[in-house]
């Protein structure tokens, strides 16, 4: 059972103190956590000195859970209860995962996202991922000697809304405050670009265990602008293993084999693949549970032949990303290789041939993403005062709406810089129509059925009018995490409905609350204590932020305005000691509301100042 950490109010870090923030690379095969210490981004190790944590979760008969190397060692002994590569299932339904027959799990086809039957019960991929995150959180808190302010968690750039939401939910379940979901290639670019003081157009080619991403960035004076991204969220090193595995079955003329032997041979396949990165031949030997003997030799030439089509599958997205960025191969200054699978010589050769230059491989492809995420976490937590790093990322897949005949109408095109908002107006097509249903999808295909369904919602309470008279404005906002929220408003009557896009492919608030509850195995009073603690931390942070803003820009306020804010602050401060979580929450909202105008003025002023560097005379204040 996990223990709650309760800090007394007023004991949280003072504003000037270094905030403990980490970057987490939640990978298909391995996960890592890194932080910035004394200005250097470093990966945090476990007690045995391992940087990598295998993304493997084992549910034991005694009800405990083990994660990492010890779990990995169990995967062929206890395949049903040892979950590897869970990232492939995040935000995915059973039909989205093509190769379930080859995997040793008992899948449960639950709506939205599949689940896996283990001896510890049905587990959502979100819960399994949360186990990995919990271990990394503990590792970081132990190494850094305190509670974390927050974490930046990386996701494949090509993850859609459902997969991103699932990742964020997993972090929440693990008790982490998510400062930002950061795209893996962008994180790698940060680590690489800052290290090498690079300027110009760079391509990040990221072939991980289960996902492929390619991003094209323009680096200029600390601004990392993603021009285009593309990829395949179901293509990675695992697929190379599986090709070798199939080859073994074929060569050794094995009958259909059991889950234990499947896991064993998949591991042998991975080992052979890794061996062939530095050798020309790999011997694969194994005695299976069935008594069958495997003794084969795989040459690097054969491996190349077996997996050439997988490499081709990475070059098509690469070509598309270049085209979307409006660039040609000659415009690219460097290609940064990320992900363990880019260690394969045949991958490096293919990339070198495509770009007509050798890719950059001087950074550890396993660590670069976590290192970049840590740098961004440090900035977001407010540890760097100089504004010298800015990431401008994009939405990887277009957002659209279902129209007549099951066709998609694009609302936000892929590769739009985030955050972005688009409004679309709708009207009724029948007299007296009072409800209307809207279906939001993500993807590039023309048919709705070929895209991912994100949300279906109904707008009710439209005032009864003649057909075509109602004016319903639906606004899609995608935030800096790449997550969508939708608001609909009937213009003539002002009826508004706010829609969270979670239900179709994410977990509902109730489900998360249930999981949190069961993971803490706590009584109701503990739940309340936790809610109260969370509310106090929120309040503390807000008071801190506003105090800092007042001392910096207090002169933007008239005396009466300042008084009003200070009164709100005082009210919140009083409630922090005496109030319950709801009362504190309401006071936080009230204080936020009271400072809206102040926030707007501060930002106006800073923008004016920034632009004033050039032409002071054209500014009207």
């Amino acid at each position: 059972m996990a223990l709650l950490q309760i800090a007394e109010p007023g004991m949280s870090a003072a504003p000037h103190q270094h905030k403990l923030a980490v970057g987490i690379d939640l990978g298909t095969t391995n996960s890592l956590v890194a932080t910035v210490r004394s200005g250097m981004s470093t990966v945090l190790h476990d007690e045995e000195g391992h940087a990598l944590l295998p993304s493997v979760v084992h549910y034991l008969p005694d009800g405990s859970v083990e994660v990492g190397y010890t779990a990995q060692a169990q995967q062929s002994q206890d395949p049903h209860n040892t979950i590897v590569s869970v990232k492939r299932f995040m935000g995915r339904g059973l039909k989205d995962v093509g190769d379930t027959a080859q995997l040793p799990y008992q899948f449960v086809d639950t709506p939205g996202m599949l689940q896996i039957q283990t001896r510890a019960g049905q587990k959502s991929p979100v819960e399994v991922s949360a186990e990995i995150l919990k271990v990394l959180k503990q590792r970081a808190e132990k190494a850094l000697g305190g509670e974390l302010t927050g974490a930046v968690i990386t996701v494949p750039a090509y993850f859609d809304d459902a997969q991103r939401q699932a990742t964020k939910d997993a972090a929440r379940l693990a008790g982490l405050t998510v400062l930002r979901l950061l795209n893996e290639p962008t994180a790698a670019a940060v680590a690489y670009g800052l290290d090498n003081a690079s300027e110009g157009v760079y391509v990040i080619y990221d072939l991980g265990g289960g996902t492929f991403d390619v991003s094209i960035l323009r680096l200029s004076k600390g601004v990392f602008e993603v021009l285009a991204t593309n990829g395949d969220s179901a293509l990675g090193g695992d697929d190379f293993d599986r090709r070798i595995f199939c080859w073994i079955l074929e060569q050794a003329k094995l009958p259909p084999i059991n889950p234990e032997d499947t896991r064993l041979l998949l591991t042998k396949s991975r080992e052979a693949k890794e061996w062939l990165s530095d050798h020309t031949e790999a011997r694969i030997t194994s005695i299976l549970k069935s008594g069958d003997l495997v003794d084969l030799t795989l040459t690097s030439a054969k491996l190349k032949e077996l997996t050439q089509h997988l490499i081709t599958k990475t070059l098509n997205p690469t070509r598309k990303a270049l085209r979307d960025a409006g660039l040609a191969v000659e415009d690219v200054k460097g290609i940064v290789m990320v992900g363990g699978a880019t260690r394969m010589p045949q991958v490096r050769h293919a990339v070198a041939e495509f770009f007509e230059q050798d890719p950059l491989t001087n950074l550890d492809p396993d660590k670069v993403v976590a290192l970049g995420a840590a740098i961004q976490a440090n900035v977001l937590a407010g540890n760097r005062s100089e504004n010298d790093l800015l990431l401008l990322d994009v939405i990887p897949l277009s957002l659209g709406l279902e129209t007549m005949g099951g066709l998609t109408e694009r609302v936000i095109p892929r590769n739009s810089t985030l955050p972005i908002a688009r409004a679309q107006d709708f009207t009724t097509f029948k007299d007296g129509q009072t409800a209307m249903s809207i279906h939001v999808v993500q993807g590039e295909r023309e048919l709705v059925s070929d895209c991912r369904s994100l949300a279906r919602f109904e707008l009710r309470g439209i005032p009864s009018m003649a057909a075509g008279a109602a004016r319903i404005r639906v606004t899609f906002q995608v935030d800096a995490d790449g997550l969508l929220s939708v608001t609909a408003r009937e213009q003539t009557s002002g009826v508004e409905s706010h829609i969270t896009v979670k239900p179709s492919y994410g977990l509902s608030e109730d489900e998360i609350a249930d999981m949190l509850q069961s993971s803490f195995n706590a009584a109701d009073s503990d739940k309340q204590a936790r809610a109260l603690q969370e509310a106090r931390v929120d309040a503390e942070r807000l008071l801190e932020a506003i105090a800092a803003a007042l001392s910096q820009d207090g002169d933007l306020l008239a005396e009466a305005e300042r008084k009003q804010i200070e009164t709100s602050m005082e009210q919140l401060r009083n409630l922090m000691n005496s109030g319950n979580s709801h009362e504190i929450h309401d006071a936080v909202e009230a204080l936020n509301h009271a400072t809206e105008e102040f926030a707007a003025r501060r930002m106006d002023t800073s923008v004016r100042k920034a632009l004033a560097g050039q032409k002071l005379n054209t500014l009207e204040l």
Partner: protein, 178 residues
């Protein structure tokens, strides 16, 4: 004192309200504005500031995208002058442009049927050249002659070219996947 940024897209970046703009300057100004308003700058700030930051960063992105591309920049400029470019309703085009249109569509279908990606790429280059000519026309029509109705017609032509280009790009993408 102004309460919030309610300027038009040009003013947001402190650029003159006209069709010809210095793209380097636009890039620079955009980055300056984003450096101040981007949500990453406000991750630890109050809820009010985070909300405002998202609104302003969204507005800056929208403004940048609109001004960056000649067709949308011209359309927006005409809008500021109170002119609707009627791209969906007004499909009347001069005869010579109609001819050109037909030639492009035919070339596209031919190359598409023959799975000839190189021919499609060549067509794209040719269309880009044509678009550049219209963009030069726009500069004259908008900045020098203030011939807004005429400029509206040019925007419709460019808009058509943009659409065909998008179709061609999609066709190439499909052929590559096949």
């Amino acid at each position: 004192m102004t309460q919030s940024i309610t300027q038009n897209h040009f003013e947001l970046f402190d650029l003159p309200v006209q069709f010809s703009i210095d793209l380097d300057q636009l890039n620079q100004q955009f980055r300056k504005v984003q450096s101040e308003v981007h949500p990453d700058r406000f991750a630890a700030a109050s809820g009010a500031e985070r909300l405002k930051s998202m609104q302003l960063a969204t507005q800056a992105n929208e403004a940048y995208q609109t001004l960056k591309k000649p067709t949308s920049r011209a359309r927006y400029l005409l809008q500021l002058h109170g002119i609707d470019t009627q791209e969906d309703s007004n499909t009347a085009m001069p005869g010579d442009f109609l001819m050109l249109q037909m030639e492009w569509r035919e070339a596209m279908e031919e190359a598409s049927d023959a799975h000839d990606i190189d021919a499609l790429e060549r067509l794209l280059t040719e269309m880009r050249k044509a678009a550049r000519q219209f963009q030069q026309d726009l500069q004259q029509q908008l900045d020098e002659n203030r011939a807004f109705e005429q400029a509206s017609g040019t925007v419709r032509k460019l808009s058509f070219i943009d659409k065909v280009q998008a179709d061609i790009e999609q066709t190439i993408s499909k052929l590559e996947d096949a």
